[in-house]
Amino acid sequence: MSKEEIQAIDHSESESEVSFIHRLKNRIVDPFDDFLNADRSGKTDKAGKVFLLVPAFASTLIIILILAFLLFESTPILTSPVGGPGIIVNPTWDPNRNLYGIAIFVVGSLLCTTIAIGIAVPVGIGGAIFLSEFCPMRLRQPIKMITEMMAAIPSIVYGLWAYIVLVPYIKNVLAPSLQNNPLTGWIPLFQGDTNGLSLLAGGVILAIMLLPTVVTITTDALQTVPTSLREASLALGATQSETARKIVISAALPGVGAAIVLALGRAVGETMAVLMVTGNSLQIPYTLFDPTYVMTSIITNQLGYAFVFPLWRSALFAVGLVLMIMSVCFTLTAKLFIRWGMKTRGYI
C-alpha cells in the first residue's frame, strides 16, 4: 500500500469522523445552546417542540410494541418441536394432544372473506356509482348519511341481528328451499344439514358490514374524478351510463382498488359478528352451509383459558401474528394503489 493511499484512507476516516461529530453537534449541542440563549418566549417554543415529539411517535411505538409482543409471545410455538412455522399448513388443532395446526382457521378466514368480498365489492361499487353519478340531489345526502351510520353500528349489534334473524332464516328457509329445489338441489355447495350457523352466515354478515366501507371510499374516489372528464364524454354523445362505466370508473380505478383492499383488511380482522354466526367447529367447510372457524374467533374463544398453558397460548398469539401481518400487507397495498393513482391520474 503506498503512502498516498494510506494518507487518503486516513484523511477520509478523519473526515467522516469530523462530519459525524459535526452532525452530532448540529443535532444535539446546537439546539441546546439555542435553547439556553433564547429569550423566554423562544424557550417556550423550543421546549414545546420537544414536549410534542413524544406523542407524535406514540403510534409508531405502539406498532413496534404490538409486533414485538406478538413475536415474543409466539416464539415458543414457532421454535418448539411440536410447532414451528409449519403450523400454518397443519390442519389439526387439538391442544389436549399438543397439536397446534392453524390451517383450519386460515382457510376459514379466507373462505369467509372471499364470500364477503364477492358480495360486497360488486354491490358496493354499484351503489357508489349510483350515489356519485345518478342519484337525485335530494336523496344523495340522506343515503350518504345512512351508509355512514351503517359504518358506525358496532359489530356486536350486527352479530346480534345475524344470530337472531339471519341464522334461523338460513336454517329454516334458505337451506331447505335450495336443497329441495330440483334446479339447485344437486349443487355440491348447497349440500349438508345445517343449524344455520355456517360459512354462508359469516360471509353474508361480513358483506353487510363491509358495504359502507366500500360504498363510502368508492364514492369519494368517484367524486374526485374531474367533472370535465364526464362532460367531455357526454359531449361526444355518450350516455350517462357509458360515461360512468368507461370513463369515471377507469379514472377512479386506483381509489376503487384501495377501497377493495381496505375492505379485505376489515373482513379478515372482523371478530364479534363472525364469531357469533359461523358455528366455530373445527373443520374445513366444504359447502356453504357447513360451520367454520376463523382466526379471530379462535383467539377470542380460547385465550381466556389458554393463557396458563405456554404452547397453547403461544399458538394463539401466532394466529394473532398472522392476522397482524395480513393487515399490514393490506394497508401497504392500499397505499400503493393510492400512490399509483397520484402518479397516473394526477388526482385522488
Binding site: G237, I247, A251
Partner: protein, 254 residues
C-alpha cells in the same frame, strides 16, 4: 325565419341557475363554415350559452331554461329529442385540456366506438385523419399507445380537438380553448381554428378581443346575460354601436 341555412338558431333563450338569471332573452344564429366568437367579460354567461347549445347544462342541478335552440330545423329541447344524437353532431372543446386517462389512440377511438364503429381499419383511419386535422399527427404518430395525460398542455388541447373531430361533427363548440395554454401553443391552436373553418361551423367563446378579431367572422357581445351586439366581427370591433361594447373593446370593462 327557418330556412335551414343556419346550422343553429337561438330563439328568445333565457336561463337560470336556481333564482339567478344567467341569460336574458337571447336570439342569434350561427352560420355554416364560419367562426362565431362569443365575447364578454367573465361571468356574463358566454359559457352557459355555449353549453346550452349541446344541452350540457341539463345535468347541472337547478338549471332552468325558456326559449328554443333550433338545430337543423328541430328544437333540441323538444321532449323526445335524442340528446345523444345531438351531441354526435356537435363537438366540444373545453377550457382546460381534459384528455381521458387512457392512451392517445383510445382517446380518439372512444367517440367512434360509442357510435358503433367496430372495424379496426376504420378506427385506425379515424385516428390518423383526426390527429392530422388537429395538427398533432407528426408529433405523436409513434406514441399512439402512450398515456395521453403525459403530453404537454398544448398537445393535450390539440388531442382534445382531435377527439372532438373523431366523430366528424358539423359544428364545433370551443370554450376558451387557449386560455389555459402558453402563448406559442395558443397561437398554434388559433391557426388550427382558422384552418378548420373550411369544414366546420365553429362557435368560440373568448374574453380576448384580439383573438376574436384574428379568428372570427361574426361576433356576439354578451354583457350581464344580455346580447348587446351581434354583428360581423370587423364591424363590431372597428365601430361598436353600443357604449358597453366599446368599453369592453377598449379595455375599460373586462
Amino acid at each position: 325565419m327557418s330556412n335551414f341555412k343556419h346550422h343553429i338558431e337561438v330563439h328568445n333563450l333565457s336561463t337560470w341557475f336556481g333564482k339567478k338569471a344567467i341569460l336574458k332573452d337571447i336570439s342569434c344564429y350561427f352560420e355554416d363554415n364560419t367562426v362565431t366568437a362569443i365575447m364578454g367579460p367573465s361571468g356574463c354567461g358566454k359559457s352557459t350559452l355555449l353549453r346550452t347549445l349541446n344541452r350540457l347544462n341539463d345535468l347541472v342541478p337547478n338549471f332552468r331554461r325558456e326559449g328554443e335552440v333550433v338545430f337543423r330545423g328541430e328544437n333540441i329541447y323538444d321532449m323526445g329529442y335524442s340528446v345523444y344524437d345531438l351531441r354526435k353532431h356537435i363537438g366540444m372543446v373545453f377550457q382546460r385540456p381534459n384528455p381521458f386517462p387512457m392512451s392517445i389512440r383510445e382517446n380518439i377511438t372512444y367517440g367512434p366506438k360509442l357510435h358503433g364503429v367496430k372495424d379496426e381499419d376504420e378506427l385506425e383511419k379515424i385516428v390518423e385523419t383526426s390527429l392530422k386535422k388537429a395538427a398533432l399527427w407528426d408529433e405523436v404518430q409513434d406514441d399512439l399507445d402512450k398515456p395521453a395525460p403525459n403530453l404537454s398542455g398544448g398537445q393535450q388541447q390539440r388531442l382534445c380537438i382531435a377527439r372532438a373531430l373523431s366523430i366528424n361533427p358539423p359544428v364545433l363548440l370551443a370554450d376558451e380553448p387557449v386560455s389555459a395554454l402558453d402563448p406559442i401553443s395558443a397561437a398554434k391552436i388559433e391557426e388550427l381554428i382558422v384552418e378548420l373553418k373550411k369544414d366546420y361551423t365553429i362557435i368560440l367563446v373568448t374574453h380576448n378581443v384580439q383573438q376574436a378579431f384574428r379568428v372570427s367572422d361574426q361576433a356576439a357581445f354578451l354583457y350581464l346575460g344580455e346580447l348587446v351586439e351581434f354583428e360581423k366581427t370587423k364591424r363590431i370591433i372597428e365601430a361598436p354601436a353600443d357604449e358597453r361594447t366599446e368599453a369592453f373593446i377598449t379595455g375599460r370593462i373586462g
